[in-house]
Structures are given as C-alpha cells and as structure tokens.
Amino acid sequence: MFAVVIEDVTKTFRQHVAVDHLTLQVPRGSIYGFIGPNGSGKTTTLRMIMRIFYPDRGVIRVLDEPVDSAPNKRSILDRVAYLPEERGLYKQMKVREVLRFYAALKGFRRSGPDIDGWLKRMDLRAWADQKVQTLSKGMAQKVQFIATVIARPELILLDEPFSGLDPVNTEVLREAILELRRRGATIVFSTHDMSVAEELCDFLCMIYKGRKVLDGTLESIQDAYGEDTLRVQVEGSATWDNLPGVAKVTDFGRYKELRLAPQADTQVILAHLMQRGRVRHFEISRPTLHDIFVRIARPEVDAHA
C-alpha cells in the first residue's frame, strides 16, 4: 500500500527539465524524506503531487487515485495537506480565525477542539486571539504548520519545514511529525538538513538535477556505499597527502575523514599514519548521509580531489 506512486514522470518548463523520468513509491504510514540540493526538482515534484502542476509525462497516484481523475467523493485535496517552502498567512486575521479558515477550506467544520489542542501542543495558546502580524517568525511558522495539519489529512507534504527554526522549535516540530505518524498519517518532507533526514526518515529519496539518484532506507543507502570511510585523529601537524589508497581527505577540524579508494588496505594506511604522527583515533565506518549528499552533488569537486 502506497500513499504516493510516481511512475516515470517528466516535467519541463520551457527548455529546463525540472523532473526527469522520476519513479518512486511512498509507503503508507511512513516518514519519507526528499533530499537534494536547491533547484533539483523537489518542490516541482511536491507541487505535482498537489496537482498545482501537471506532469508532461507519466502518472502520479495519490492515495490510490490518479491525479488527473475527477473524484466525486471527498476530494483528494481534502485528504492531502501541503506546506510550501515559501509560505505566508493573512496578517490581518487572528490566529484562531486563520486556523478555522484553513480547516473549513478542507471541509473540516468542527475544528475548535483540534485547534485548541494544537495551540496547546505548540505553546501558542496565549496568542490564539492575536493578529498574525504580531507573531514572531518562529511562531508564525508553527501556526502555518498547524494550518497545514488541522484538517486531519492522511498525507502531509512539507517543503523544507525546518528551515529557519531555532533548536527548540525544531524539536517541537519533530515531535509533532512523529505524533502525526503515530496517528496514521504519511509524511513526505523535503530538506537539505541531512542530520534531520537521518534522524526522522524511514525512507529517503535523493533527487539531483531532476533525476532520482538514491532511494531506500538509510541503512540500505549506506550499505550501498559500504564501509569506505575512515575517521582519524593524529597528533601533531602530520601531512595528509600521498597516502596510498585514500581517494579524498575531508578536514572536520578535530578529526579527518578519509575516503577509501576501491580495494584499499586499511592496515597499510594505518601503518603510514603511524609513521607520520601519534594516532589517537582510527575508525572504519559507513559514510554519513551528508557525505553521500556532497559526493553526489559535487562530483566535479571530487574529480579534482
């Protein structure tokens, strides 16, 4: 059972191919992360799922209904919620009015108790009868999130929901997303914050230049790259060039990350490092999502490394 099925979808704007032969499935009840650099086609894909754009080719099925169908029962739009990356609220309206308006737009009429519940959860109860324009940016962002999920949608699409939030509010939002999944909703969100994606997502999909380059669980993605990373701490100002079997060195300050070339022998590298200084830490690990992201998004930099 899939909440979203995208089959061989292509979308072109004038000359620019925004989404190129994209195929993916979002399992129901999962948290699904779209990762990828800016301009890679994440927002276009989300807009196509929302029927704001229509694909030039391919089929998109949302909650088992094809996007171009004309459903006469409860509209698909009422069962799906969308929080765009660029989002605003009517500044002149009061917080509670705005939330009631968005609930009504999705055909959810008795929204009062839900609104109170969410305002309490998000620590916004004192602001319920204030105008939106009096809210701080973080508060407004939380109100926008509530407006998105107030009508109890089955599928929730969030475009960069964490951007611009402080750590406390990020935590509140993370909790809220997990709570929504417990209630049975499917959540798809895009982000370029890899640590959030690693923590939250059951499934990940990376889009780069309109094409899917990664798809699966975090484990399966990391497994595909194998244990090709060394984390090393060496005392003194050791030199890092001309290490045999090392493809790339990334300096993280306290430690260095070395990417192994194919068939490299870690024992040989350790021996070399011991000659250059006192080795305090030597760990063979899988690449982080961040590392994988950068490797895909910056191949030209890698080529010169």
């Binding site: 929080l83 765009p84 989002r87 009517y90 309206m93 308006f101 737009l105």
Partner: protein, 447 residues
C-alpha cells in the same frame, strides 16, 4: 462549491470588517457631493471689498449714466446689513469718464487706457456704452449695431453687469419708443412683449381609481439628467472601489506567499471564483447602502417618480454583472503582476474599457435612442453602465434591450472569468518578474 463559499466569505468579511471600508463608505458620497456642497455653502459668502467701475456713456447727452447711477445707489444701500452695521455685499463705486472722439483710433486708445487702469487694480472693470445704442434704424445687421460692452480681467464675477443689465435695457427701450413717437402706451407694448417660456411637463394620465384625468406634473429640468448620471457614476465608482482592492489582495497574496498555501486546499479556479463572488457581494453591499440612501432622499424630497423600482432592480442586476466582469479582469491583472507598481502597466486597457461609458455619457444622454447609442449599449463592456443610463432617461427603452444586454454581458462575463482563470492558474505562482500582455494572452491559449 463549499470551498468557493469559504473563500468568498473570508474575502467579504476581510473587506467589510475593516475601518477603511466604513470610512470609504462615508467619504465617497461626501467627495462626490462635496464640490456642490461647498459651492452652496459659499454662495452666501461675498467679497465685501469696494469695487470701482468706470462708465463711458457715449450716447448724446449721456442719458444712460443716471440710470446706472440710480440702480447702483439703490444697490449700495442694501450692501450694509443694518442690524450688524457690517458690509455683506461689495460696495460699488462709479466714475463717469468723458467719452473720447468717436473715431476708431480714439475709441481704441481710450479703451486701452481704461484697461490699463483695470490691470493696475484701480478699477474692477469698465462699461462702454456706444453712441448709437439708442438709435432705432433697422437697416443695419447685428454686427454693425453698436451696443454696450463690459470689459474686465475678472469676467467670472459678473455681479455688476448683471445688476445693471435689466434697468439699462428698460431705459433704452423707453428711450427708443420715445424717439419713434409710438402712439401705443408703453405698458401695452410691454404686455405684448411679455416673454413666454416653454414649460416641460410629464404626460397626462387617467387615474385608474377615480377615472379623473390628471394633468402631468411640472417636470424639473435637472432631475431627469441627474438620475441617469447618478446611476452611471454610482456603478463606475462601486466597481472601482471593489475591484481595485481585489486586485491588491491578489498581488499581496502572491507577495506574502499565501497563494501557494491556499492552492494546497483549493483549485486555482475555485480560489479565483471565491474571490470574485466575495467582491461582488461587497459591491452589492455598497450599492444597497448608497442606492437605499439615494432612494430615501429622493422620496423625502418628492423625486421618487424619477427612480422607478424596476429600474432599481435592473441596476442591481447590471451592477452585479459589472462587478463580475471587471473583477475578473482586475484579478487577471493582479495574478500576472508581482507588485502593485507593475499593475499600472497592465491595467490601462481594462481602465479604458471601464471608462468608455463615461466618455460616451454626454452624447448618449442627449439622444438615448439613436442608432449609435443603442449600438454602443450592446457593447458588453459598456452595457451595464450605458444601458442603465438609457433606461433611466424617460421614456426608457423597450424591455428586450436590457434583456439582450444582460444576455451578452453574461456571455462576456463567462468568457472573462474563464480567461482570467487560465491567467490566474499560471500567474498566481509566478514570482520575480511580472508578465507582459502578450504573455498573458499566451497563458489563455496554452495554460
């Protein structure tokens, strides 16, 4: 349907619940009637500075000067309010100037000299009574006949010539009659010459209850013109008052990135239609207030017969259609722009259409049933305003005309709403740079 209603309700409340709405509602009629009001208030106010006039009486023996002097004397006595002892009207001073020689050059010279004195401010103006004004020969054409001229650089203030015109005319007539040695007494001639104005009246009708024939009422010359112009202006003002904020709203929703959030819940066309219906409801609210007020005032002052109730019904129908038609055009412009400044560039064709009836108002009013006027009133963008204008000029138009007009406007409105919907769908997510007119047309054809 439900979503359109939710959007329309929000739009309506957002527009109506603001202080600005109430202020505009009150200010508008004040502005419209303001200039008339100020003139009426100022009509009792007069500059009370003394005004000096020079009189050149070229008639033999200067027989007309005493007439003027007497008239002005009588007037000057009334310029001071006896109770307050204060001047309420300007005192007129006269100076008799001896006439120059009766040659063209000398006349021009003297008039220049007097004109200079007016320019320096010493005189307010001067009256030049030409020599042959009393002569009674009939052989000359009008151009050759000499008369009386009043020269001034402030010809908008005609209090002095108006004051002396009638007494002077009577005096001249008397003198001419004297010279012609008419045997008929002057009173008889006056009686024969009594002016007879043509009075404009309504039609005579038979009272259906008593069966008695009732004379048509004396018609005011003003009311039959005020009502059609009032209707037309009201429709124009209400459309502008509501369509402009509607367009601003669309641009703001784009700028504040509310539009895409809304598109997560509503289809673009439903969003646009909701906004349009909300705006139409606002315009009908304003119409109800103004029309109700105007009708109440008309009843109060006995002008109700000029506003028949079926005309009011037609007005509401046309007002609603005009709001929908022009509203959809304004929405399309708003959706194609990314800030308010850009709307100026795209709005002019719409404004031109909306103002067309204002330009044509005069000629249609004069001949409401001429072929040209009938034809223009079937041009859908002008129909609401021009048809109501023609309908409100007695005796009105045959019923099929507004019927057909409504039909054509409904078709045009549907077309506009459809086209605006296509523009809205593409434009509402457009950021950065506004669209050109050619791009908007392309969106209609290939959304």
């Amino acid at each position: 349907m439900h979503k359109i209603f939710v959007i329309a309700t929000r739009e309506y409340l957002a527009a109506v619940r603001t202080k600005a709405f109430f202020i505009t509602l009150i200010i508008m009629p004040v502005l419209m009637s303001g200039s008339a009001l100020i003139q009426w208030l100022l009509s009792d106010y007069h500059d009370t500075k003394i005004k000096k006039f020079a009189i050149v009486d070229r008639t033999p023996g200067a027989r007309l000067y005493p007439v003027i002097e007497k008239t002005v004397q009588a007037y000057n006595e009334k310029t001071i309010d006896p109770a307050a002892g204060k001047a309420v009207l300007p005192h007129f001073d006269l100076e008799q100037v001896a006439p120059s020689a009766n040659t063209a050059a000398a006349l021009a010279e003297q008039r220049l000299e007097l004109s200079e004195r007016v320019r320096t401010g010493e005189l307010f103006g001067f009256l030049d009574i030409e020599a042959k004004v009393l002569e009674t020969s009939t052989g000359e054409t009008h151009a050759q006949m000499q008369g009386i001229r009043y020269q001034s650089n402030r010809t908008t203030n005609l209090d002095f010539p108006r004051l002396i015109e009638k007494p002077l005319l009577h005096a001249i007539q008397d003198m001419r009659m004297e010279e012609m040695h008419l045997q008929v007494p002057r009173e008889k001639i006056r009686a024969a010459m009594r002016p007879t104005p043509v009075e404009v009246m309504g039609l005579t009708s038979r009272n259906p209850v008593t069966g008695a024939i009732e004379d048509g009422a004396l018609r005011s010359r003003i009311a039959p013109i005020v009502v059609p112009i009032g209707f037309l202006m009201l429709m124009f003002v209400v459309v502008m008052m509501t369509a402009t904020p509607l367009m601003q709203g669309v641009v703001e929703e784009k700028m504040q990135r509310i539009a895409e959030v809304l598109l997560g819940s509503v289809r673009p066309f439903d969003l646009m239609l909701g906004k349009l219906l909300g705006m139409t409801a606002v315009s009908l609210t304003i119409t109800t207030v103004y029309l109700g007020g105007a009708y109440g005032a008309a009843r109060q002052y006995g002008f109700a017969e000029y506003i028949p109730s079926n005309l009011l019904a037609w007005f509401v129908v046309f007002q609603a259609l005009a709001a929908l038609m022009y509203g959809s055009l304004f929405i399309a412009v708003g959706a194609a722009c990314t800030d308010m400044k850009e709307t100026q560039n795209l709005l002019w064709p719409v404004m031109l259409l909306a103002m067309l009836p204002l330009f044509l108002m005069g000629s249609v009013l004069q001949e409401p049933n001429s072929t040209v006027a009938v034809g223009l009133s079937f041009f859908p963008f002008a129909t609401p305003m021009l048809m109501i204008l023609r309908q409100s000029v007695p005796p009105g138009v045959p019923t099929w005309q507004p019927m057909l007009g409504v039909g054509l406007v409904v078709l045009t409105t549907l077309l506009c709403v459809w086209a605006a919907g296509r523009i809205f769908r593409v434009g509402i997510l457009l950021q950065g740079k506004g669209a050109k007119l050619s791009e908007m047309l392309r969106w209609i054809i290939h959304p």
